[in-house]
Symmetry: C2
Subunit: 99 residues, 2 copies
């Protein structure tokens, strides 16, 4: 993944917001089903909270996925997304030394 593409993934208010929300899923998405939060939050809940259409959020999540900032887990008909903390750390460390 190109560094420019990674910065592009972060160049959008909604995508930054999603990453922020996923820092604390319990607090950000209290309506989560008993399933728990271990695998993240499903697309629909993010979509409602973001106030954009389903297709847009699905697209944005795949941008974040390609950039490596989140990982996806398919469970039944749901796809759960959560932050990839290690990848995020790698990125922030990298730009701390490279930028």
């Amino acid at each position: 993944m190109d560094q420019v593409e990674i910065f592009k993934a972060l160049s959008n208010k909604s995508r930054l917001q999603i990453l922020e929300w996923l820092k604390d899923p319990e607090a950000s998405f209290p309506e989560q089903k008993p399933n728990g939060y271990e695998h993240g939050v499903c697309v629909g809940q993010i979509q409602v909270k973001a106030g954009l259409t389903q297709s847009t959020i699905s697209e944005y999540l795949s941008v974040l996925l390609r950039a490596g900032f989140v990982e996806a887990t398919r469970m039944g008909q749901w796809t759960y997304y959560k932050r990839n903390e290690q990848a995020i750390k790698n990125f922030t460390e990298a730009i701390k030394t490279d930028l």
Copy 2:
């Protein structure tokens, strides 16, 4: 300056490249006049090295300036640009804790 705008400033190969070059102006721009490098490198040299037009580079430098990554010093007919290391450090520290 909005954080989204700052990431946008970094979402371009040429602009990232310029920031990179300005880390070591002596090595990146050996043709610099006896003036020295204390105030940075002038637009024309960056333009030649980047291989884009003068207007584009002038524009890109002002994007980097607005984002706070560089500072400009006008000296006679030249404008010298150099990195604002403190601002860059502030930014990388901020996303290290916030992202």
